[in-house]
Amino acid sequence: MSTVKAITGDVAVAEAMRSIEPDVVGVYPITPQTIIVEAYAEYVARGEVQTEFVPAESEHSAISICVGAAAAGARTMTCTSSQGLALMWEVLPIASGMRLPIVMFDVNRAISAPINIHCDHSDTMGARDTGWLQIYSENAQEAYDNFIQAVRIAEHPDVQLPTMVMMDGFVISHAIQRVEVLDDAVVKKFVGERKADYPLLDIDNPVTWGSFDGLGGWFMEFKKDQMQAIENAKQVSLDVAKEYAKISGREYGLFESYKMDDADYAIIVINSTAGTAKTVVDTLREKGVKAGLIKIRMYRPFPASEIVAALNNCKAVAVMDRVPGYVDIGGPLFEDVQVACYQEGVNIPLVNYIYGLGGRDILTSHIESVYSDLETIAKTGKVASPVNYLGIKE
């Protein structure tokens, strides 16, 4: 039913794509995503998949090809990183506005300038409000599992939205890890066939996509429907996760709670740093410190009330953003958590740490210093500095 392989994150994603076997893939190579493109090109060349594979002239073209193909009724995928996603930006809200369930993998990489090919989350955080669902992954296994589930979530009748799945560039994309790969037939049965509602290729029922809708039209209602669909994705992703657990033995929630039941101090983190942080949690627990961790999986929709409920008994909470916020109220995840707490009427001291920009190393000692800060904050009841930087050169 499954095979254990020692593969990189990029190859894990390519393996998932091979089993899914989408109808159309439009891509452009960019470090550190390139290996996915190359591996998939190999599968096509060997005849292992019957995908229309288009190595386009730019990412803008790649995602536009996906939009056209998805509107035609095809199951469509792409993958990119950093500037590639930035160049796709114009088309991202077109895909979500047209309710096209394109599934994209983005290998997280910093946005220029200065030019940098290493990991942070500035690419996908810049696209967090484009109407796409966003699912983050700690390691290669999660990247693989999330990518397969994303097809079902995106195409679900209550959702019908494009979805991007992420993992950290190089740290995960290029590191060889243990990955359980499901048999192609099992994955194919799980994802099934895409049934598009209004495909352009249905010549008996002609339709127009993307037509003008100005004043007096239904634009606003359309947007409200999109927001509802994003919200629906919460339950759908949990339902899909239950089904996926049956074929894989691995079940995912909206986020992962690690030793949170009795935690006094918690940090909220995205992607691979969760692995480093869990090690610190374990060490602190041995010393009697009630440390816990929340790792975001589903970031759009944002599980606001669910996260607040998980934090409710904490004395202090740190939110880690691997992206510069460019505002003095902190990074995007910090903003979201603050708003969520305010909305739920929960007043826990919150503190933000910006870390790992452009691939800057994040060490266990950095995470330890965060927990140590949290103990001080809990003791004094004061957050001396709401926004802080970890590992910055002085």
Binding site: P29, I30, T34, E38, P55, S58
Partner: protein, 284 residues
């Protein structure tokens, strides 16, 4: 100043035997010549895009600007328009200039911005380790096209001629004197000078033998004759494996440049304003 003095301490990361070395050395030599008698290198700006070629900005000690992938051309245009007194030399690659940012190249040529555009055309994505590009031949087996590309290449020279470039040339990375001649002429040309350089990528698409056997210097060619230039540009379509490949300046034509004087095209804002005021005065 001699070419050597224009070097930097940045460690060179190109593969041994890379065609970029001769482009670098030719450019340094020509810049050194230009600095003689009139030390104006401070008024020279080197622009580079993303790809192996881009490193050239690290290796020449003049003002330089790294753009993002595909945007070397418009960044260079902006620099020139912002300060027309600058000498702008833009290095780009075939992925950068013909793929990701092709539209910019066409418009820079159409506008006739006075800049030198040097495309390091290795016909493969070298930095991302070997995928096909817009000038890779039909059937090219790269890492994104393991079964062979099913697309025919574009002919950048023919494209630039029809887009309005006023200087069109082709060089070859094996032959530094030939490159220096072209660079001198291109930099001296007032207007958009375009050079496609067959830059051999020894690692992912080594064409040295093939190019050396097939290239020849343009002779008895009238570079002011547009039709003749198009004909010579079409002698090789970047695909055929037996056609001869001409090198040198295909076309040169003087035309007004974009950034100097908008009044040349009849736009006289002060006079228009005066006329309008006179007209409005009748109704006051």
């Amino acid at each position: 100043m001699i070419g050597k003095e224009l070097g930097t301490n940045a460690p060179n990361t190109w593969c041994p035997g890379c065609g970029n070395f001769s482009i670098l050395n030719a450019m340094k030599a020509v810049l050194a010549e230009l600095s003689e008698g009139a030390p104006d290198l401070a008024r020279t700006v080197l622009v580079a895009g993303i790809g192996c070629h881009g490193k050239i900005a690290d290796y020449i000690n003049v003002n330089s600007f790294y753009s993002i992938h595909g945007r070397a051309t418009p960044a260079a245009e902006g620099i020139k328009i912002g300060d027309p007194g600058l000498r702008v030399i833009c290095h780009s690659g075939d992925g950068d200039a013909y793929g990701e940012g092709l539209e910019h190249l066409i418009f820079a040529a159409k506008r006739n911005v006075d800049m030198t555009m040097i495309v390091h055309d290795n016909r493969v994505y070298g930095l991302t380790t070997g995928q096909y590009t817009p000038t890779s031949p039909l059937g090219f087996k790269g890492r994104s096209t393991p079964a062979g590309s099913i697309e025919s290449p574009i002919n950048p020279l023919a494209l630039m001629l029809t887009s309005g470039a006023t200087f069109v040339a082709r060089g070859y990375s094996h032959g530094i004197e030939n490159l220096k001649d072209i660079f001198r002429a291109a930099i001296a040309h007032p207007g958009f000078s375009f050079i496609d350089i067959l830059q051999v990528c020894v690692t992912f698409f080594n064409q040295y033998e093939d190019y050396t056997a097939r290239t020849y210097a343009l002779e008895n060619h009238d570079a002011s004759d547009f039709d003749a230039a198009v004909k010579r540009a079409r002698e090789w379509d970047y695909n055929s494996t037996d056609a001869r490949i001409p090198l040198g300046v295909f076309y040169r034509h003087d035309a007004p440049v974009f950034e100097v004087n908008p009044a040349d095209v009849g736009h006289k804002p002060a006079e228009t304003r005066a006329e309008l005021d006179k007209l409005l005065a009748q109704y006051r």
